[in-house]
């Protein structure tokens, strides 16, 4: 699932889900740590004010389109069939149990029988069927959810509480896909109202209900007093502690932080690295670090055309650039260098640091070997009269200022080896346009999805074929039959060990082919007033959940 394709403010990034907690001293920074240690007993009541820097959604139903801003909000009022816990295990949510057929061509989900949507409609197999049909209906204009259900042919109602997913081919990623908010289960009666109405206030089973959406201002969420269906890893049962959430859209990151400092809001998202660094020394603020799942942020090398169709040139680029110091300095120590195509959140992520050791001599030798022997007056390498130019379109919507500065350091260090990196700052439409026209040699594109199946989307040769819009996900244009077959097998095997082994081999091949330069996890974090207790990020797509949260005095 593409990450936040429409984001008017810088997308955040950050490593190792940490929950930095509580009254000044206790800070948990373990990967995928549980909720901040609560101090004292939960208290009921109060309104939590949340300031979001992500773009305001154009539709609150995450089935429609399907981006991260929608997921942030939907996580408060919609729920999925299953969830994922901190260790990466799939756990029950709206479905209490599930079984897969031996051939992997059908799955049966048994739903909880004590759950109703907030409009009173009971949660049953018919509802699940209606949701899958809604997602697969072209009129819904679903993109992310549609892809997540790509191998689901249809849903059959076995009995009232049992839904059978009939697959067109086995999908080892089905459960991971179903954890995502983009395929959350909504009230069929709500869906039947039509897109316009459903977009304003989707009806789910979640701990909060959409009360009002004032465009460009806020969404009011009120507590669902009849709530019964927390995911299996929640800290309590019954309704949420908070009475309401006031969800504001504050696009300017400095204003968001000021509002948090002034006590006007309790939680902000998308803090910039310098802000996080400042907040760390503030005793009344806590940092919730929640890198997104799926792919790590990385620079992809377009192997589909010259000069990166030559592996030697790809390796030369990767050996030439130095990013470690830049990441440390520009991200104020809030981002950890990655050496894997996958997010550190993913249990199956495979790293190989040795491949990314900077080595300018080797870079120069490789370029000489590849025929880029001459240099022009500016010091750039030339072959047959053409300069060794790398076009680098950068999306100002997706790359925060710190990342843009990092790319300038990539440019500077690559120059030493004779690469002419031409950075082009573009808005989202122009950026997608440049990619669709293959007007790039290097590019950085975030991609959020639960589970390692993101590798198939990003590196299987099928993903070079563009969608009608021109969009394609395999930006490295990696076209290797061996990688293809590993990823295809991994996606259809039902054996966990085999799957892990196949993904590891695929990642080895991808890394060893020098198709990408991993940078860090897709940064995603939140700053909270220490009066907010018990908040955590979902171990699925790292959106915050306030079901267990309360406001201490």
């Amino acid at each position: 699932m593409r990450a936040a394709p429409v984001t008017t403010s810088p997308t955040p990034r950050r490593i190792g889900i940490a929950a930095v907690a509580v009254v000044s001293t206790i800070a948990l920074t373990a990967c995928q740590a549980p909720a901040p240690e609560a101090s004292g007993e939960p208290v009921s009541g109060g309104t939590l004010a949340y300031a979001s820097g992500d773009a305001e959604p154009t539709c609150l139903d995450p089935h429609v389109g399907g981006n991260y801003p929608q997921a942030l909000l939907a996580g408060q009022f919609l729920e999925s069939l299953v969830s994922r816990d901190d260790s990466g295990e799939i756990i029950p949510w709206l479905a209490e149990s599930w079984t897969a057929a031996d051939d992997g061509l059908s799955w049966e989900f048994t739903l909880r029988d004590d759950v109703a949507f907030t409009d009173g409609t009971p949660l049953d197999a018919e509802a699940v069927k209606a949701n899958v049909e809604h997602l697969k209906d072209p009129a819904t204009q679903s993109s992310t959810g549609y892809l997540a259900l790509g191998k689901v042919d249809r849903v059959e109602v076995v009995d009232e509480q049992v839904a059978r997913f009939v697959m067109s081919s086995p999908d080892s990623a089905l459960l991971e896909s179903l954890t995502q908010p983009w395929v959350a289960i909504e009230s069929p009666a709500g869906l039947a109202r039509g897109m316009d109405e459903n977009c304003q206030a989707p009806i789910g089973t979640g701990p909060f209900i959409v009360d009002e959406w004032v465009k460009q201002d806020h969404v009011s969420l009120v507590r669902n007093d009849d709530y019964t269906s927390p995911p299996a890893d929640a800290a309590h049962d019954g309704p949420a502690y908070l009475e309401a959430i006031d969800w504001r859209f504050v696009p300017d990151s400095a204003s968001r932080y000021a509002a948090l400092q002034a006590g006007q809001v309790d939680v902000i998202d998308n803090p910039q690295p310098d802000t996080i660094s400042a907040a760390k020394s503030n005793d009344s603020l806590a940092w919730l670090d929640a890198p997104r799942p799926g792919a790590a942020n990385r620079i992809e090398l377009n192997s589909g055309q010259a000069p990166f169709d030559d592996e030697r040139v790809r390796e030369a680029f990767i050996r030439a650039v130095e990013v470690d110091e830049g990441i440390d300095a520009l991200f104020f120590g809030t981002a950890e260098r990655s050496f894997s195509p996958l997010s550190s959140v993913e249990a199956l992520a495979y790293s190989d640091e040795a491949l990314f050791e900077p080595d300018l001599d080797r870079a120069n030798a490789l370029l000489d070997e590849a025929g880029w022997t001459e240099r022009d007056a500016d010091g750039y390498r030339v072959k047959d009269g053409a300069r060794l130019t790398l076009r680098f379109p950068v999306s100002t919507n997706q790359s925060i200022p710190a990342e843009q500065s990092l790319f300038e350091q990539v440019q500077a260090t690559a120059k030493a080896a004779g690469f002419d990196v031409v950075i082009e700052l573009l808005d989202l439409s122009s950026w997608y346009g440049a990619l669709a026209e293959h007007e790039y040699e290097i590019v950085s594109a975030p991609y959020t999805k639960v589970g390692p199946d993101v590798l198939r989307i990003l590196y299987h040769s099928d993903s070079i074929t563009p969608a009608p819009s021109g969009y394609f996900a395999n930006l490295a244009q990696l076209d290797d039959p061996e990688v293809d077959s590993l990823l295809t097998d991994a996606a259809s095997t039902s054996d966990a060990d085999t799957r892990a082994d196949l993904y590891e081999r695929a990642q080895q091949l991808i890394l060893e082919g020098y198709y990408l330069l991993p940078l860090y996890d897709q940064q995603n974090s939140f700053l909270l007033s220490t009066s907010v207790q018990g908040a955590r990020a979902m171990p699925t797509v790292s959106t915050p959940t306030f079901y267990d949260a309360w406001l201490a005095d």
Partner: protein
């Protein structure tokens, strides 16, 4: 002016006023047409497919069928010139179309946002006037030091960028002193910082203009005679020269409102206020052509109206302009 009976004179003034009104309306229609035309073609020069904008924004993975369907539904498969005339036809009937991204009528969207932005701009304009008048009156005719100080303040204020001023105000009054909220939430207190942010640079501009004409007016014979009648220096300034000083500033106010509306894009974003500025920014990002066109037309309309109003206000402030109408 030919002397005539009072009735004749009134009639001829009325005729001139009607002619003038006719010209103004024709001018306004021309400006709106030109703006609509420019916007229509300019927005098609920037990359981005409207059909994609409708189907979930840039990078959407919409199917070919969906794209085709949308192109048919929205007439995007028609030649550009046909789309242009279709748009003009819709505009003539007052139909601004439907937002690509929000799927809501543009008129409703803008209607909901117009009030907030106009209120913001009007308050800022008022505050700017008060600040500028105060500064100009205080610093004129008090010797070189006051004059230089006044000039310095004006130039500095006029040069302050909105984003910087906003950041400083937030740092001081929200984070530091905790007096005012950094995010405007519809309360009166929330309006203070955005209004001040917009007003201060504008006050700098206005005060510069006012001082010039104030100085000019102070040289006039009527000032000397008023002073000779025993009026105080301040009294003269307050009663007699302000009118003169205001004239160019009144004419500038039309321009100022446009300037405030563009400033609103920055200020509304920083203070997270709903309004036309933010609507425009979001619409451009999403390639939401009907909304962009709608905002631009609306701003043009406000501009035209303000020009008419400042023209009228100048006539009220300066009787000579009224006389000319009768000529």
């Amino acid at each position: 002016m030919t002397p005539g009976s009072p009735t004749d004179e009134r009639r001829s003034i009325r005729g001139a006023t009607l002619r003038r009104a006719g010209l103004l309306v024709a001018g306004a229609v021309f400006v709106l047409w030109a703006v609509a035309t420019l916007t229509f073609f300019a927005i098609r020069l920037i990359p981005g497919d409207p059909a994609q904008a409708i189907l979930g924004g840039p990078g959407s993975q919409a199917s070919q069928e969906a794209l085709d369907q949308v192109r048919r539904d929205y007439g995007l498969d028609q030649p550009l010139i046909a789309q242009y005339f279709a748009m003009l036809g819709r505009l003539l009937t007052g139909d601004l179309g439907v937002s690509y991204a929000l799927k809501l009528p543009v008129a409703d969207l803008l209607g909901a946002q117009l009030g907030g932005t106009l209120l913001l701009a009007a308050l800022a304009l008022m505050l700017a006037w008060i600040l500028a008048l105060g500064l100009a009156i205080w610093s004129t005719g008090r010797g070189r030091v006051a004059s230089a100080l006044g000039e310095g303040v004006e130039i500095t204020a006029a040069a302050l960028p909105h984003f910087w001023l906003a950041a400083v105000l937030i740092a001081v009054f929200s984070v530091g002193l905790g007096w005012l909220p950094p995010v405007a939430t519809g309360t009166l207190a929330g309006f203070v910082l955005p209004v001040v942010t917009l007003a201060v640079p504008l006050a700098g501009f206005l005060a510069q203009v006012m001082r010039e004409s104030l100085l000019d007016a102070m040289q006039q014979p009527f000032v000397v005679s008023a002073r000779a009648r025993g009026e105080s220096a301040l009294g003269v300034r307050a009663r007699h020269t302000i009118r003169h000083a205001s004239l160019p500033a009144i004419s500038l106010s039309g321009w100022a409102l446009g300037w405030l509306l563009s400033g609103a894009v920055v200020v509304e974003t920083i203070f997270a206020m709903p309004g036309l500025g933010r609507t425009l920014l979001q619409a451009v990002t999403l390639r939401d052509i009907p909304v962009v066109t709608g905002v631009v037309l609306l701003v043009a309309l406000v501009y035209v109206l303000m020009t008419v109003l400042t023209d009228l206000a100048a006539r009220i402030a300066d009787p000579r302009l009224r006389q000319e109408a009768g000529r």
